[in-house]
Symmetry: C2
């Protein structure tokens, strides 16, 4: 079986490390960067490399697009124009899904090509082929979003091929995925950014008050150091779900504010207890992976 | 020199571990719990133990009150009625300071007794004498709040005695301390509680959506698992500063909300970049301790 991975960055190269474990898979790495391809060959990360997707796509049984979102969109259009195997599965690794699914709708589905959107919640702050890490996806949530019924019927095929990652595969619709991301990822970033900014407004430069903070503040603001362009793109690509969840967060915050204003200890105890129990239960099923 | 530590819980017992390093100090441990005192003697954590503060307080050169806040308040009243050494320094380890400082004002200052409020941002989720840990205070912010000018003139004496902790001592007023805590500790807790509660409102039980979350959400909600009674007490003891900072946080959140609503990428990039740089600078001076 021929698996083409486009983009040998941290996500794609780590996927290659895991898929190596299956001797039935021939791995073909595609990247614009010659040095990355040379490194991938030298370290036997893949069996074959190419700078040109068109050159290798037609032999592929599975094509994994693991580049930035804009580039994924362009490649979907390009792939729609090639003479691919009728049984090929195309998937991606983009963290925002709506635009990518729209491209698949326009360029792949009319030609009967199977597209299953993918989004794994894994990765570090590192980048590039040298950040490749075997087991990076282990136990990580890995969302699969089939573009149509035909794609839905082939999700199990994709899971079997990706099984060496050890990821926790979850199939859902794009809308469900985007609503979920608003709550568990997008808004936590917005809140961390806002907390960092308001703290600086109140206390002055962070290099001056940093000596006064403990683990709680550091944890709460860790993701505030995320990449501005990436997160601006993500937040603008999921506006509706984010704004809905922000309203919900503000309501929860209002409850605390009123209880503090009213010195209402009973309500405060209830609100904090609810949060405490929910947080304690959050990791019950996967305690060992925290 | 006789140092009395009242309360051999995690904070007091860990302090004892560090003060042991100074052979000039005779450590006297006071606790209501007989088993804790027996453990402290058996492990040579202290040189002498007592269940009765009054019995050992009059010989003390330094008294460290490391019990829950309410009990600290009661002991300050009790100490004001004893015939202490004129040179004694009394300090505490309570995380909320206003009520404690008011007690010192009422019962100690009129008798010329030196009181220096203390608050170390250290500790784990563990409790009790067996959680004692040498070096627990190392590099931790340790706030010292002298109750009057006489106390201010003796802060350096206290720092010399506590030096074996390796803590990062910072002298400030109670008001400065409470404003700072609102920003770096109290409101981060409120936000974590609210985020946990709104996520459950939007997604249902946490044991069901826990499998979908990544490190960012876990970090942002870790302190939401904090003790309800402790945090209800803290939030209600620092209402003014917390409500001020909540307003500031909401303004920062509003800026993000407007930029997302308006698809204003330029503003969003600026807001996120400001947060990113501030977070990167937060740990510049103490990177090694993160």
């Amino acid at each position: 079986m021929n698996v083409v991975i486009v983009g040998l960055g941290e996500m794609g190269a780590s996927l290659a490390c895991d898929l190596r474990k299956n001797p039935q898979i021939k791995l073909i790495g595609v990247d614009r960067d010659v040095a990355s391809l040379a490194y991938a060959r030298k370290t036997s990360l893949v069996d074959q490399t190419s700078q040109d997707l068109a050159e290798v796509a037609t032999q592929a049984d599975l094509i994994i697009l693991a580049t930035p979102v804009e580039s994924i969109e362009q490649m979907i259009e390009q792939l729609g124009q090639l003479d691919l195997k009728t049984t090929v599965i195309i998937t991606d690794a983009g963290s925002t899904k709506r635009a990518i699914m729209a491209q698949a709708q326009q360029f792949l589905l009319p030609k009967g090509i199977t597209f299953i959107g993918g989004h794994a919640m894994a990765g570090s702050h590192l980048a590039g082929v040298q950040a490749a890490q075997m087991g990076m996806y282990r136990h990580a949530p890995y969302f699969l979003m089939p573009a149509d019924e035909q794609a839905a019927s082939r999700v199990d095929n994709l899971k079997v091929i990706l099984a060496p990652t050890g990821a926790n595969f979850i199939t859902m619709s794009v809308d469900e995925h985007d609503d979920l991301m608003a709550v568990v990822s997008d808004n936590p970033h917005v809140i961390a950014f806002a907390l960092m900014n308001s703290s600086v407004n109140d206390l002055g430069k962070s290099q001056d008050f940093g000596q006064y903070v403990a683990g709680g503040f550091k944890d709460m603001t860790r993701i505030a150091a995320s990449d501005p362009q990436l997160w601006s793109d993500i937040l603008l690509s999921n506006q509706g779900a984010i704004l809905n969840n922000l309203t919900s967060f503000r309501q929860a915050l209002d409850q605390f504010q009123r209880a503090i204003e009213d010195s209402d200890e009973e309500t405060l105890l209830q609100l904090i207890s609810r949060a405490q129990i929910s947080r304690q239960n959050l990791l019950i099923k996967r305690e060992n992976n925290d």
